[in-house]
Symmetry: C2
Subunit: 230 residues, 2 copies
């Protein structure tokens, strides 16, 4: 009975066109700002704010503040699965996975750059994805941990995992500006970045945060992470 009410409540949240629009825009796992979501839904910021608050309260969205922006993303994979199941019934079929482009205009910078002391852009996100997919790190919103498999992998790369008590701060997710997804920051991100420079896999573009992946880097990244940057 209460199960009925909970189901209805959740479904009703998805049942509003504006909210459905926003959720749909988040289907690819990226995080978008409240303003962007208001824009895609075609409503004003204040209306969107109310919707986002309700979606977060119900556990459909997770929010992360970064400066004066608030980034929203789907709270769990279960939410994405639910939305997909609804679309299936609605006759829309599987999601179209449309390519949207926002963020830094410079293509090279979007591809790979430094963010403070670690790698960001497509390269940074790809490294984080690869390590997470292989169970080498486990990322959470508030922090992350390096698994035993990850320690072994890092050692093989020539990176000494911080054995001290600062394990938690060692692996920290950071929201990527252009990709709107997490990449690795913290001590781990810094160490990976440093090592990539040492190995000659990437090199800096003068007077810029942009970095370029070298020929050796393409091979090395492919071998180490299974990464293929188009």
């Amino acid at each position: 009975m209460s199960s009925n009410a909970a189901m209805a409540e959740t479904a009703a949240l998805v049942g509003d066109p504006a909210r459905a629009c926003m959720l749909n825009a988040l289907m690819d796992g990226r995080a978008l700002t409240a303003g962007e979501l208001a824009s895609v839904a075609g409503i004003t910021a204040q209306t969107a704010s109310g919707h986002l608050a309700r979606l977060s309260a119900a556990g459909l969205l997770a929010m992360e503040r970064q400066g004066r922006h608030r980034y929203h993303r789907l709270a769990t994979p279960a939410v994405a699965r639910m939305l997909e199941a609804i679309m299936m019934v609605a006759g829309g079929g599987p999601p179209p996975a449309r390519p949207r482009r926002i963020g830094p205009a410079d293509a090279a910078m979007r591809n790979a750059r430094t963010c403070y002391d670690h790698l960001a852009g497509r390269l940074g996100v790809a490294i984080a994805d690869a390590m997470a997919a292989r169970g080498q790190v486990e990322l959470a919103t508030d922090g992350g941990v390096v698994t035993p498999a990850g320690v072994e992998f890092l050692t093989g790369l020539g990176i000494a995992p911080d054995a001290g008590g600062s394990r938690r701060a060692f692996c920290k997710p950071c929201l990527d500006w252009s990709e709107r997804r997490h990449h690795l920051a913290g001590g781990l991100g810094a160490a990976l970045c440093t090592r990539c420079f040492e190995l000659g896999w990437v090199k800096r573009v003068p007077a810029s945060r942009t970095v370029l992946v070298t020929r050796a880097g393409e091979a090395g990244l492919r071998q180490a992470f299974g990464i293929e940057l188009g």
Copy 2:
């Protein structure tokens, strides 16, 4: 965009407490009458009627008229999957699969009985389920077909499949009164019923539609269909 609207519309249908209640009651695949659904939702018949019309129009439910009753059930497995996914997010966990009991009060009659010229009750539904699960028949609302594998199976049982042009009428689903699910009717259902009597698997209770499964029947049904009637 239109995909968004369709998703919102579908979700909104589930988003009403009364409708969610009705859909939930249908989660186990049974078919219930409009009156029963109104009752479980705690609303009047006329209100339920409106809800059911909308759910059917949207393709969430399928309707089947039998006498002056109208039986409603989930239109496709995709709808059940969607509801389950929503419940997952709503925190209700997987559906409880509650056992509800309506229909004939007589336990033996609920277990097995004849329906016109074929078997019904738990036995009839179990036979239909078993044959469908094994790909021996393919059941649709308006009719069904016996597959080549089904022909072979029936031959082994000593039943000659009707080789004439009346194949379609040969295999016909019939909505079970107590189980609220389909069992096999038509020529196939009649033949199966006759053969079960011939083999001594079931015998009639005098002056009643109720039939009893014999000891030989328990063994035979288990071997032929993999059926285990608790």
